[in-house]
Structure formats: structure tokens, C-alpha cells
Symmetry: C2
């Protein structure tokens, strides 16, 4: 390590072994604990990343990418030590191509800052995981969020990448054309690879036109099944929802307490439509008709920008509201995704399972995608609660697989889900391992994650 | 080979070495010539495919998947001999899940038959490459077509696969959940892999609701730039076009002659909108306004289903109309895709290049995706014309790359584009080679295609 640090002297004070810096890069939003990295580098260019990777490869030192530290599964933890590569100083918008609706960015920029920089162009980047994550991190976990039902996930919105491979070589994947059939889809392979195949140094992102008109509403339902069936019916009518979010009664209660809202304590959908004023008005009306068919009451359209902002601030604050509902607790944030026909069953079974346990677990989710989260609130120093929550989480994963779904809709594998990969993928997991071995034979890129160990 | 045939005796008369069968599987829609395969197998189940692959692996015999034979780049040609695996008897719809808008199918079913089987459900599969290709083949070439601007390509519409790997092992990729962050995106890796990583035996496809209302129009423009600028403006206003197709004046002339239409001989867009009656009416009106801004005249809405059918029949017949415009000729069908801001330049330069050559080459394309084709008409026994067309095609590929695009938007690499892969991907091409080697170390799956040889 000393020799590596010496070789990386060209970074000047942008490489650090200071205890505070190492500590900061050993923390995560998850309950997962890790040892510290041995050092943290703050590169400013692709060339610097390539030199860092080549040096680490020579010395057999693990390399772990770090974005904004908002991962919920411990993706960026240096569990085998090594060098954490912090991309916070590679946070530039390199180019915006309004006609092609593309932006070329560095991985360290956060989604909120990117959208600030795009504001004047009339374009925006839609993927919205809630947290102000870095775009590089979002690509690496194949993140999505509230708008995926309309705009897709990172899978759909990353058109190309620049990646430094484990051997220090820099490659480009994809092109600026909207589509291509030119060989293996390396972009899609790297998106969601959690830094185990290389370090991403540049991303070409698809942008979308800021909608001319936006219309949001809250509507409450007598029970979960009605809310979910309303979503299924809405999707089948082809109504292009921009967002359709589910909150269970417990989540609503936590949000009310946290924000002073006075929403009725029953399952609730937050919906949003984007389009021309006429289109949005028509969609809102049609959605209202469908929702009433499924017993929705308390239907309320957000009247203006201010109302809408309050509504989505509440939604994005739900995680914190839930944390605040049981002071002193931390959360195990689960993240399963099922075929939408199985969603009501999955949510109801999960709710009953949690209700029968001593651990609270409000449920909310991106119901248009079949994706939901139970926020399991545990006292971190109570081993019984931790064990109960882990069993609840395991049963959610098993339930999702039984229903044809996946163990993670958008948070990724990291440390938290590695134990379920074999159950989800069977022999295909070994194929991931073979690809990993082909591209990183020394297993230095974020070791211990994603593939069989 | 004799020993392999003996081992595959369980196929009964579904394995053949008859000259007529071998000849049929040595043909292609392309100008590319190949030797015959040594035998052709017609499996009826995944289990049979797995046994075929295991036997071929034991004997070191190449395996080449065969769908409907509509490839334009010679993908399915057995250029090193071996066993062609013809999927025409694996053509079943295995399950339809209307609530989840999914279908599980075998690879040999064609897109037209799939849509016939879906008709009663109110759902359809949108990817439309023109030819009545097999869905397995479409997945393997990452095909798209007229509707990609709205519904995406095969990349976006294949949710999961069952694949028999080179070692005879069967894996499943993806799940039935609408999205997932569970590890490497193997589905995306296999889609577009042209049978070089394994043989696909089952596909889970996304379906879409049949639009309540459809509205189509033809509009003519004074020049290519106006037509393309109209498309860019339309996309930027966020108008959700279902189709937007470009035909140059030469293509229009060929279509007129072939079908008896009397369209004005100038660049033309065919557009279509899908949605509710109100939405479609509004979109049509808005598009009309944009088109007029760009000098469109001769704007004409198709009045009913019959008019629309005639219009799209003309579009899908354009390839044959162009072939008929020069009797005795075959075509080199080019397929480049560029950022849409570069589309007018790419089309105009290509047109000028073709005009300066002795070979006719009408141009048409999926202009909403930046994707276009010149149909280069050559007398196959005239080596000068073949050489001229190949140079035109090479310059189109180089031009696409110079403009930030790709050498193939939707037809794939096959034999025809292998020579440009290095120019497009640089060192990333070797990464494809490393993945290929990891999954097919004996290079038996469709050898000679996609990766460095």
C-alpha cells in the first residue's frame, strides 16, 4: 500500500489515508458494517482514473468506486480493504446536445445538480430515486424511482459509457445514435454491474423534454387490492402515467406526523401526468374515472406548482418520516419487485408478515413497476430485532421469487442481497461470474459484490 | 459428423442432410454467399436443443441458429459448416399474461403470427421490422423497425430469456417483474448476440395495449433537411409519435410505380399516432402545425383503417418496390443510424455519394431514430457494380461513425458488418471477444460472427 500511495503521488493531496476520510468512506445508509478502505483517491480526469487502476492492478489492491454514498445495500464499502475511488471531483456536465436530447457527464455529478444545469434547456433527466445520488452510482445500481413507469430506469436512459477496465485500459460503449445493433450491448452489461467490471468515467444520458403541463393527484382507496387493481386497469387502458406511487396507511400516518399533512389513514396513490395541457387534462379525467371504479374516495388534484411540490416533497421525505416515527431506530430498507398481477398479494402478505412481528415496517412503492419497499425499523443494538427484520426481508425476497419477481427492483445487490442471488438466477449466476472473471481476472474491482465468491 | 448424426437419432426425421434442406439453409436475403451447413436439426423442445448442443460440443461441431431466414446480413449462414438448428418447429405461444402485459413464446414464432394470437386479448407486440421475421431472430439481431420511436426495440421489449449455453446447460435470464437491479443484465447481453453466446429457446416479451385510436398521415417536404428538421422539432415538443418514416423521392417513385399510388415525387414523411381518440386528434393537429412550419405541403390524413393499411402496406413493400424498379438486380441493404441532429447531413451526403455513382440507391428510414437505409441495386454478376456498392456502403458506415453514430441501427453485424466493428468499438470490441471466449471457449456458437476472429 505504501508503494501504491507513492506511485499515486501525482494526485497530490487528492489521495488520503486520513482517519476521518477513511471513516467517511466506511459509512453507508445501510445497516451493513465494513472495515475502512486503506486509502481514498479523488481523481479529476479519466486519465487519472486509468493511472490509478493500472497502479492498483500492479499491486493487487482492490478498487471501489464511490459516488454520493447513498447506496442502501453497502455497494461502495471496501469490505476487503483497498483503495476507494471517490468521484466527487469528477462532477462536470461535459456537453449538452439539445437537438439529440443527450448530455455527456462525469459520474460524480448528482441528479439534482444535473437537472439544475439542464433547466434553461427545456430538457431534464427523469430518473428519480429520491436520494440526491450521483449519476455514476445510479448507473452502477441500475437505479430507478418514481418516474420509471413513464421514462424507464437507468437501463433505458444511459446510452453510452466510458469505462476504465480492470487492466487500466479505457473503452467506450454505445454511441450517440438512439439505437444500435452493433454487437454485444456492453452499455447494458456495465449498467447495474456495481463497479465490479470497471470504473465508469463518463456517461451519455438520454434527456427528455420538460413537460408542458403537469397534473398530480392524491387518491385514497379502501384497501391495498383496490389501489393496485386501479393501477393495473390504468396501465391497461394505455394511460401514460408519469408517476404512480403507493403508500400504505402506516406510511401515510408517518408522513402526516412528520409534515403536518392530514391525509386519511388508508392506502393511497400519488399520481402524476405529463404532457400538453389538453392531454394532461384528458388523462387526469380518465384516471379519475378508473379510480372511482375501484372505490377511490378523497380524490384530490394538486392545484398548482406549490401543491405539487409539497406532495412530492412528502413522498421523497417518506423514508425520513418513517425513520422519525420510531426514534433511535435505523432501517433495513427492503426492495422487491413482482409482476404487477401479483403485487396486491405480495404487499398484503408482506404486511401481514410484518404485522405478526415485533418490528414496524411501513410499505411504499413504485406501484406502476410492481416495485415496493418495506422500511423495517430496528434498534441496531437489539440483536433480536435485527434478526427478525432480516428474516422478514428474506421472506420478502423468497415471496418475490415465488411470484415471478426479483429480489431487488432498484437498489441493487451490494452486500445486502448477495445471499439471494443464487435463488434468483440459478445457474445464470455462474454466467455472471464467468463474465466477471473474463474482465477482472484478479477480482480487484469492488471485490465481494454481485458475483459468486 | 456421422457420429454426431447417430447421437442425434432421437430427433428421428427432424434431422436432415438432404441437399434441398441444406441448400435452403445456405440462402439468405443478403448478397452474401456461404457454404452449406453439414446438417439441419428441427428441435421441438428446450430439452432437445440442450441435447443437440451438448452433442455438438462433444464433437466440436459448430451450431448456428435459424429463425425465418429474413436476416439481411447473413447472420444464420454456416460459414464454417456445422449444424444449423432450425427453430421453425418451436413456434408456440406458451403463455399470455394480460394483466402483466407479457407473453412467453418459443423463438420460432413469427411476429405476424404472434400478433394474430394476441388479437383477442387487446394487446399486441409492437416491434415491426417489416419482414415477417421470427421473434428469436429479432431478439438475436436486436431488431427494431417502424415503431421503435414509440415502443422501443427488441432491447426494450424482451424481459427475459431461456438460453442453452455452449456447454449444453440451460439458464434463465430476467424475471417477470417489470424491472430488476439483481446483477448483470444478461438478458440485454444475449439480445443482439446473434447466436454467438447460446441458443435462445424461450422469450418473455412485453406487450402493449392495442391503441384505442390510430391516426396516420403522409406529408411531403420540399427537401430532406425540412423533413428531418420537422422530425426533430416534433420530438422536442414531446409529441408521442408511434411511427415516423422517411422516404426519399426515388423511393416514392418506386412505390408509385409498384403500387399505383400517385404521391408527389419529393421527400415524404409517413407518421402515425396511437392513443385515445382525443389524444390522437390533438397530436395530429399539433403535428400538422409543426409540419407546416417546415414547409410541408400535400399533407393528407389517412381517413380510415383501409387507407392506413394501404399506406403501411406501401411502406413495408418499399423494399420490393425498389427491387422491382431495376429488374434482375439484387440489393445491398445498408443500415446506419446517427444522432438525429446529424441525420439530414448523413442522408444528404449519402444521396450525393450515390448520385455520383453508377448504382441506384433509394433511401428510406426510421427517421425518428436517426436510422436509414440506402437500397443499393446491383447486378450480382457485375463485379464493378458490386465493388461500387460495397464502397458506398463502407463510406456510409464511416460517415455514420464520424457523425457519432453506429454502423447498424437494426440489422446487426452478421457477415456484412464485421469489417467495421473495430472502427466502431475500438478496444471495446476485444471486450466482446473476452465475453464470447468466457461463455463459448471452443467458439462453436455461430462461429465467424460478431467478435474478433
Amino acid at each position: 500500500m505504501d508503494q501504491l500511495i507513492a506511485e499515486l503521488g501525482f494526485l497530490g493531496d487528492r489521495i488520503s489515508r486520513a482517519r476521518a476520510v477513511l471513516d467517511q468512506h466506511a459509512q453507508s445508509e445501510s445497516h451493513i458494517r465494513s472495515r475502512r478502505p486503506d486509502a481514498v483517491a479523488f481523481p479529476q480526469s479519466t486519465d487519472e482514473v486509468a493511472r490509478i487502476v493500472a497502479a492498483c492492478a500492479r499491486h493487487g489492491v482492490p478498487m471501489i468506486g464511490w459516488g454520493a454514498g447513498t447506496s442502501l445495500e453497502g455497494h461502495a464499502l471496501a469490505i476487503h480493504g483497498g483503495l476507494t475511488v471517490d468521484f466527487s471531483r469528477m462532477d462536470k456536465v461535459l456537453a449538452i446536445y439539445p437537438e439529440d436530447m443527450l448530455a455527456v457527464i462525469q459520474p460524480g455529478i448528482t441528479r439534482e445538480r444535473l437537472n439544475e444545469e439542464l433547466r434553461a434547456t427545456g430538457l431534464f433527466f427523469p430518473v428519480d430515486p429520491g436520494a440526491n445520488a450521483s449519476l455514476g452510482g445510479m448507473a452502477m445500481t441500475r437505479a430507478s424511482g418514481t418516474t420509471a413507469v413513464r421514462y424507464g430506469t437507468m437501463r433505458d436512459n444511459v446510452l453510452g459509457l466510458e469505462v476504465v477496465l480492470a487492466n487500466g485500459q479505457t473503452i467506450r460503449t454505445g454511441s450517440s445514435a438512439p439505437k444500435s445493433s452493433a454487437g454485444y450491448d456492453l452499455t447494458a452489461l456495465f449498467v447495474g454491474s456495481e463497479g465490479t467490471l470497471g470504473l465508469v468515467t463518463e456517461l451519455t444520458l438520454r434527456l427528455h423534454g420538460q413537460p408542458e403541463a403537469v397534473s398530480s393527484a392524491v387518491c385514497t382507496f379502501p384497501d391495498i387490492a383496490s389501489a393496485v387493481d386501479c393501477v393495473i386497469a390504468t396501465i391497461q387502458t394505455g394511460l401514460p402515467m408519469a408517476r404512480i406511487e403507493f403508500l400504505d396507511a402506516e406510511t401515510v400516518a408517518a408522513c402526516n406526523a412528520f409534515t403536518g399533512e392530514q391525509l386519511p389513514l388508508s392506502p393511497l396513490l400519488l399520481v402524476e401526468f405529463h404532457g400538453s395541457p389538453q392531454a394532461v387534462a384528458e388523462q387526469a379525467q380518465r384516471f379519475g374515472d378508473v379510480a372511482r371504479d375501484f372505490g377511490s374516495s378523497g380524490f384530490q388534484w394538486a392545484k398548482g406548482q406549490e401543491d405539487r411540490t409539497r406532495l412530492w416533497k412528502m413522498r421523497h421525505g417518506a423514508y425520513r418520516a418513517i425513520l422519525a416515527s420510531r426514534p433511535g431506530c435505523t432501517a433495513i430498507v427492503t426492495d422487491v419487485c413482482v409482476p404487477i398481477s401479483a403485487l396486491a398479494e405480495a404487499v398484503e402478505e408482506t404486511q401481514a408478515d410484518i404485522a405478526a412481528s415485533p418490528v414496524p415496517g411501513p410499505i411504499l412503492g413504485h406501484v406502476g413497476d410492481g416495485n415496493f419497499h418495506a422500511i423495517l425499523l430496528i434498534r441496531p443494538d437489539d440483536p433480536t430485532e435485527v434478526a427478525v427484520a432480516q428474516r422478514l426481508s428474506a421472506r420478502m425476497a423468497e415471496r418475490a421469487l415465488r411470484l415471478g419477481g426479483t429480489i431487488t427492483g432498484e437498489h441493487g445487490i451490494g452486500m445486502g442481497k448477495l445471499g439471494y442471488m443464487s435463488a434468483e438466477h440459478g445457474p445464470a449466476w455462474a454466467v455472471m461470474g464467468a463474465i466477471k472473471h473474463a474482465l477482472d481476472p484478479m477480482a480487484l474491482m469492488n471485490p465481494g459484490k454481485v458475483v459468486p465468491q
